[in-house]
Structure formats: C-alpha cells, structure tokens
Amino acid sequence: MGRVVVDVMPKPEILDPQGKAVAAALPRLGFEGFTSVRQGKRFELEVDGEVTEEVLETVRQAAATLLSNPVIEDVVRVAADQGEG
C-alpha cells in the first residue's frame, strides 16, 4: 500500500483567523516566542500498490481541483509518504 501526502496552506496574503487564534492561545499556556502561526491542511491519499509518477500526477490534479481553492490556498507539497505503510 502506498500513500501520498498533500499539504495545503492559506495563501500568505490571506488572513488566517484560525492561525491567529492559535497564536493568541500559545503564550496563555506559557509557550513563548512564537511571532506567528498559520494553520493548513494535510491530506493522506492511499493507493493499492506503489506510488508511481502517474499516481502523483493524478494527485497533483486532484490537489489543484478539489483539495485546494487557488483563490485562497496554495498546495505546498505533494509527495509519496516514505513513512511506515
């Protein structure tokens, strides 16, 4: 079984209200020194068999079409997951 990981982040110029809320909560819990937090999404897509270049290309298309909205988000990574399967 293979796995492809897709990371999606809000575009830098888009305000990230959730990241701001997390940033505000950190110092309240004593986690000091963080000047900014941005919150994104991670998708894990599993396939039977190996992650081929063809699979990765299909995932890239899915990432651009469904998993992200290019108006507000960037796909920052599409990669085969090398971790334990």
Binding site: E13, I14, L15, P17, K20, L66, V71, I72
Partner: protein, 247 residues
Amino acid sequence: MAQTQTPTDDAASAVAGTRIGVVTFPGTLDDRDAARAVRLAGGTPVPLWHADADLHGVDAVVLPGGFSYGDYLRAGAISRFAPVMGEIVHAANGGLPVLGICNGFQILCEAHLLPGSMIKNDHRTFICTEQVLTVENVDTAWTRSYSRGQHITIPVKNQDGQFVADEHVLDELEGEGRVVFRYEGSNPNGSRRDIAGISNAAGNVVGLMPHPEHAVEPGFGPDGPRGPRTGTDGLGLFSSVLGVLVS
C-alpha cells in the same frame, strides 16, 4: 362564455407560471424558506435535488443557504461537484438567472461562476444579526426591483462569510459595477471592501452572504419601519427575477 381578464390578472398568471428551482444538497438548511420566498413573490418554486442532473425546465435557480456537506474541506467545495451543479454551470453560462445565498454564494465561488472566495469571519465566531445593505447595482436579474443606493435590512448569519479576492479582482469587480450589495454601517465578517454580494459580468448570476429569503413576510422578518419583524426588504430579489422572466 368569454372571460375577460384584466392586465393585472394576466401578469399575475404569467408570474405564477414562472418556475424557480431551489436546490437541496445534504446539509442545506434554507431551501424551504427560499421556496416560500419564491411563492410569496408570486412564482412557483420547484424543488431540485443535488444528485439529479436535471433542471426540470426551470426558468431560474436559487442555491440556498446552510452547511452543505457540513462545510467539509471548504464551504461549498464538495457541493460544487454535485450532478446538478454541472447543469447549473452550463445553464448559467447560457444566461439562466442563478442566485446563491450564503452557502449558495460559497458554492458559486467554488464553481467559478463568481470570483473570489469566502474564508472564516475575521472575528472567528458565528454571527447572526439584522444587517443594513446598500444596493449598488440594480441592473442584475435579481435586483431590478430596487433603486440604486437603496438601503435594505435583511438577516446575515454565517461563520465563513469573509469575502476575499486579490486586489486585481476587487478592482475589476468595482470597475465593472459588479459589487451588487455592500455592508452599510458595519462590516459583520471582515469582507474585503465591505462587499456583501457580487454578480457575474452578464448580471444573471448573483451571490450574497446575507439572507433575503428570511425577510419576505410580515411577522417573521427583521424589524422594519412599520414595527417589529415587519421588514420584507428581501422580497425584491425574488420579485426582480420574476419581473425579468415575464417581461
């Protein structure tokens, strides 16, 4: 025996014969209110189902508010790929009047019928309030019953209601007069340039975050000049499209 009909009767029956589809997705909340608004404006609402790739010959379509697919992934992101949406995109590009309210607006953006997108409100909380809007474009299929610059009060209720687009797109919307509604007085969600609703270039597709279908019937709407809950300012969107369709 010959029956005589007054012009008013003719007009009323023409409006009543106008069929406006109201789409229900899994998680849609305001489809019944939207259908009721169509009926109160004099038209005939036609329920449309997300999984049915058929518009059943309707003359216009309303995508109502709610939380289709639980807002999973992004608000409207999964609904956009529902079978009925393929038909709606095709028909909208051919001139069919389409109105997206709240979640319906989000779906229209995800479907690229309207530019921009909605993100979480800047204050991160759900908001539900009566909101004053300025009607800035009265040439769209959905706003001809209003006068330019008119202030209307309708409810706004959303969590992901902050309209965003890049500066170039915002300038284009402003330059082409496609900002249809703007928040007046206060901006409830941080939307860029106080934008509450926009249209496509042709003016047949309009999306807005506030809810006109909740301000169509005395006794159930926002507070109005005639007293508490008397506001019916939302009815104009529905009477506008009926007027366009029978003219």
